[in-house]
C-alpha cells in the first residue's frame, strides 16, 4: 500500500526536487522570506517594538511564508507544464489532476518545513524571538498551515482551469487576498462582526490565532480543533471541485490550447 502511494506521488516530488537546482527556487524558498523577515526584524529594532508587536510581525512573516511556499509549489507545478509546453505529454499519461496536485503539495510541505525551521532559527538568533517555544504545537501548526496551502492551491488552480491562462496571476496574487481577510499581521478582532464571521470560514485565521494563543500562554486546543475541522471540510470540497473542474477543462479544450 505504501509502495503504491509513493509510486503515485513520487514523480511529481522528484520533478520539483530536480527543478530545485534552479537558483530561483532557492530564492523563493529561503532568500525572499529571509529578506522579509530581516526587514521586519530591523523594523522592530528601529521602533523599539514591544513583545506584542514582535509577536504579530514575526508569527505573521514566518507563518505566512510557510503557507505561501507550499501553495506556490502547487501553482508553479501546474504552470510549469504550460511554460514548458509539456502539459499534453504529462496529462495524456495515466495520472490524475488530483495526484498531480497532491504530489506537488507534498514537495511544498518539505520546502515549507525547511523554510519554517531556517526562519525561526534566524528570528531567534538575530531578533531574540523564539518560535520554537511553540513546542508540541509546532507539528499541529505546520499541518494546519500546509492544509491551508492545499486549499489555496486548489482554489487558484481551479480558477486557472476555469478561465484559462489569462487569470494565471491568481496563482501568485490569491494569497495576498487571504492575507487581508485572515489577519496574518493583525487580529481579526479589528474587523466588524460580519467580516469576522467571514474570516472564520477560512482556516488560515486559525493558524495565526492558534500560534499567538500558544505564545501568549492561552489555551489553543479549541482554536486548532476548529481550524482542522474547517480545513478538512474545505479539502473534501476542494477535491470534489478539482475532479469536476478537470472534466470542465477537458470539455473546453484547456489542454489542447495550452498543451
Amino acid at each position: 500500500m505504501i509502495g503504491n502511494i509513493v509510486k503515485k506521488y513520487w514523480p511529481f516530488i522528484l520533478v520539483d526536487i530536480k527543478m530545485s537546482r534552479r537558483i530561483i527556487l532557492l530564492f523563493e524558498m529561503i532568500f525572499w522570506p529571509l529578506l522579509s523577515l530581516a526587514s521586519l526584524g530591523i523594523f522592530t529594532l528601529f521602533m523599539k517594538s514591544n513583545v506584542y508587536v514582535k509577536l504579530f510581525l514575526f508569527t505573521g512573516a514566518i507563518g505566512w511564508s510557510t503557507i505561501h511556499f507550499c501553495q506556490h509549489a502547487i501553482g508553479r507545478g501546474f504552470l510549469s507544464e504550460v511554460w514548458h509546453d509539456s502539459m499534453k505529454q504529462t496529462f495524456s499519461s495515466p495520472i490524475t489532476l488530483k495526484n498531480f496536485v497532491i504530489g506537488h503539495w507534498l514537495f511544498g510541505i518539505i520546502g515549507s518545513v525547511i523554510g519554517f525551521t531556517v526562519m525561526s532559527t534566524l528570528a531567534l538568533v538575530f531578533f531574540n524571538f523564539n518560535l520554537f517555544s511553540l513546542g508540541v504545537f509546532i507539528p499541529a501548526i505546520l499541518l494546519l498551515a500546509v492544509m491551508c496551502s492545499l486549499i489555496i492551491g486548489i482554489t487558484s488552480l481551479s480558477l486557472v482551469l476555469l478561465f484559462g491562462m489569462r487569470v494565471d496571476f491568481i496563482v501568485w496574487s490569491l494569497t495576498d487576498m487571504v492575507v487581508f481577510i485572515s489577519g496574518v499581521y493583525y487580529s481579526i478582532a479589528v474587523f466588524p462582526p460580519p467580516v469576522q464571521f467571514i474570516s472564520h470560514l477560512f482556516p488560515v485565521v486559525y493558524v495565526f490565532e492558534g500560534m499567538r494563543a500558544v505564545l501568549m500562554g492561552v489555551s489553543a486546543w479549541r482554536i486548532f480543533a476548529n481550524g482542522f475541522i474547517i480545513a478538512g471540510i474545505w479539502i473534501i470540497f476542494g477535491m470534489y471541485v478539482i475532479s469536476k473542474i478537470e472534466k470542465y477543462a477537458k470539455r473546453t479544450g484547456f489542454y489542447e490550447r495550452y498543451g
Binding site: K7, W10, P11, L14, V15, K18, M19, R21, R22, S80, H84, D85, S86, M87, K88, Q89, T90, F91, S92, S93, P94, I95, T96, F163, G164, R166, K247, K250, R251, T252, G253, Y255, E256, G259
Partner: protein, 322 residues
Amino acid sequence: MLALEAEGVRKSFKSYESFTDKIFHRGKSMEALKGIGLKVNEGEIFGLLGPNGAGKTTFMDIVCNLILPDSGKIKVFGLDVVKQGLEVRKIINLSSAYSKFYDELTVKENLEISAMYYGLKINLKKIISMLDLGEYEDKNFGDLSSGNQQKVVIARSLMTNPKLLLLDELTIALDPNIAAKIRKIIKKFRRESKTTVLLATHNMYEAEELCDRVAIIHRGRIVACNTVANLKKMVSGEDVLEIAVDKIENPSDILLTKFGGVKSIVIHRNDNSIVMHLDNSEKRLQDILKILMSKKLRIKSVKLREPTLEDVFMKLTGAKLE
C-alpha cells in the same frame, strides 16, 4: 479486435472575446469535428491526412482523453475513452510535435520521470540508442536542437511500448534527413512491437510512406478513407497539370471556361497557380495554354505530373493540404 473505433464524434469549442463574455457564456461556437467515424485495425498504421485546422489534433486529443467529445463514442481496444480514460491512457502514448519537456532537466531525467507516470521501470539505454540520443542523454532538454528535442518526445512515446501509438505531426519542422530517419524508426518499431499507430499529418509523403490506410479529413469531416493505392485510383487515368502564372485577376472567368478533357480546376491565388486534373494531357495541353493566353494570362511555368495524395485531397475538397 479493433484497435480504435470511433462513431459520430462531434466537438465544438467556444471562443470568447472578453473575460465578461466568458463569465456570461457569450462565446462564438466553432465546430472542430462534425461526426467523425472510423475503424483502425490492430497492428496497422492508420493516417489522418488533412491541412492545419482540419480537426486531426482535436481527434487525437479526444483519443488521449485530453478533450471530452460533445457526442459520439471512441473505443480503444474496447475501452471507452470517456468512461475509462485512465485505463485507456495506460495502453496508449502520444507524441506531439507541439509538445516538449522540462528544459532544465536532462534527457535521461525527463524520460525517467515520464516512465514513472506510467508506473514503469524502463531500460532507457535501449530507447536512447534506438533514437541515437546517447551523446545527449546527460544534456538539458532545453539545450538540444529542435530535431533532437523531437527525437526525445518520440523516445518517450515508444518507451512504454504502447498498444496504440498516436503521432501528431511526427516530423514537422525537422530537416529531411532526420525526418526520414524517424520514419524508419517508426516502421521498425511497428514491425517489432506490432503496435497500432495513428498518425496525424499534413505531409502526404509521410502518409504515403508509412500508412497502410489513410483517412482524409477536411473541416472536421472524413471525406475519404482507404489504402493509399485505392485513394489514388480516385484520380487514376488523370494527369495533373500545374500552371504558374504572373497574376490571376479574374479566377471565376477561368473556372467558368470550358477546357476539353479537364475534370477539375483548382486556383491558388496565394501562389498564382492553376491546377487541373485532365485526361489525355498531351493532346489537350496546347489548347489549354492557348485559351489561358487568350485571357491575357502570362504563363511562367507548366508542369505535368502523376497524381499524388495531395491531388486526391484537392479533388475531394478543392483545397490544398498546407
